[in-house]
Point group: C2
Chain length 180, copies 2
């Protein structure tokens, strides 16, 4: 979320390309990097016991991203990250971030601000799950991130808002008929 311009780790970033549909981060890995997305969209998803893919997040160009449980708690992740378009990333080793944070006030402040931004985003999403029906979550998503929605398959949107693809299709139909 934090623009890279304000991020002093830039000189240590290494470019990385991921082709559309390729897996960037594998399940079970302790992925101790943060990465800036220069171009493209990725999604992170889980595979349920019944084998379904459930998309949790989208991240796209201009955003920083990471696997929270990996960088905060050194835990292996159950998430999988997949590029939905050809992606250009800049990777930064998180151990280096930690090391530099030992005596770098500005960096720690930046990290704090970043965590706070992510927190606000996540809390908004929890609120929407508590307050809104799936239909409203979909409408808000279209209103707030129209350009992203267009670039992502509906089936991924569906689990992002907590429903099945079939149900999202019905929601779309309902909304279309209400407009007329």
């Amino acid at each position: 979320m934090e623009p890279l311009g304000s991020f002093q780790m830039l000189p240590f970033a290494k470019p990385r390309m991921v082709a559309a549909s390729e897996i960037y981060i594998q399940q079970g890995k302790v992925f101790k990097k943060i990465f800036f997305i220069k171009k493209g969209i990725l999604r992170s998803y889980y595979i349920t016991e019944s084998g379904e893919e459930k998309t949790i997040f989208f991240r796209w160009e201009g955003q920083m991203a990471a696997v929270p449980e990996c960088i905060f708690d050194q835990e292996p992740t159950r998430q999988i990250w997949q590029a939905l378009e050809d992606c250009e990333l800049l990777e930064i080793d998180f151990d280096l971030v930690e090391k530099m944070s030992e005596n770098n006030f500005t960096l720690v402040r930046t990290r704090m601000g970043f965590a706070q931004k992510m927190l606000l985003e996540s809390l908004k999403r929890v609120e929407s799950f508590v307050l809104d029906k799936p239909e409203m979550r979909y409408q808000k998503l279209i209103a707030q991130k129209p350009e992203i929605i267009k670039r992502v398959a509906d089936k991924h949107i569906a689990s992002f808002i907590g429903v099945t693809p079939v149900s999202l299709s019905r929601i779309r139909k309902r909304l279309a008929s209400q407009k007329k």
Copy 2:
């Protein structure tokens, strides 16, 4: 979430009592304090257009709490905080925290760690909304926070997991019959 012991703002904290069922934070306020809960439980909730109360959060003894949009963005909140038991709080002025953060490395690190912990908690909750049905969310809640659940009315639990009180009652009945 962060124990107060590790929190150097303790000397600046002011005690505050809130009786059970009383409103602690009013809607529309820019509540620029953080507070430590020495004793008791509070909930934060929204009132929907149709007048229903939707509980978003519980916070209880041993935890730090704040209204994110107030302290991060100086925005008035739509949340209401209510004490569910007689509460003993320790309030800390957030402007003071900000001022002390200007040149206090340890404090900024503590705040970063706190934001990260809250973020992990919030992300887990989003995951549960995407991956689990209400029934599973309820079961996980019982498994993970049994002592808290017992102290809180079911109708508040219901909106916390994203269903109506009637639906939670049915979920409870289903689970009870499955056990036998």
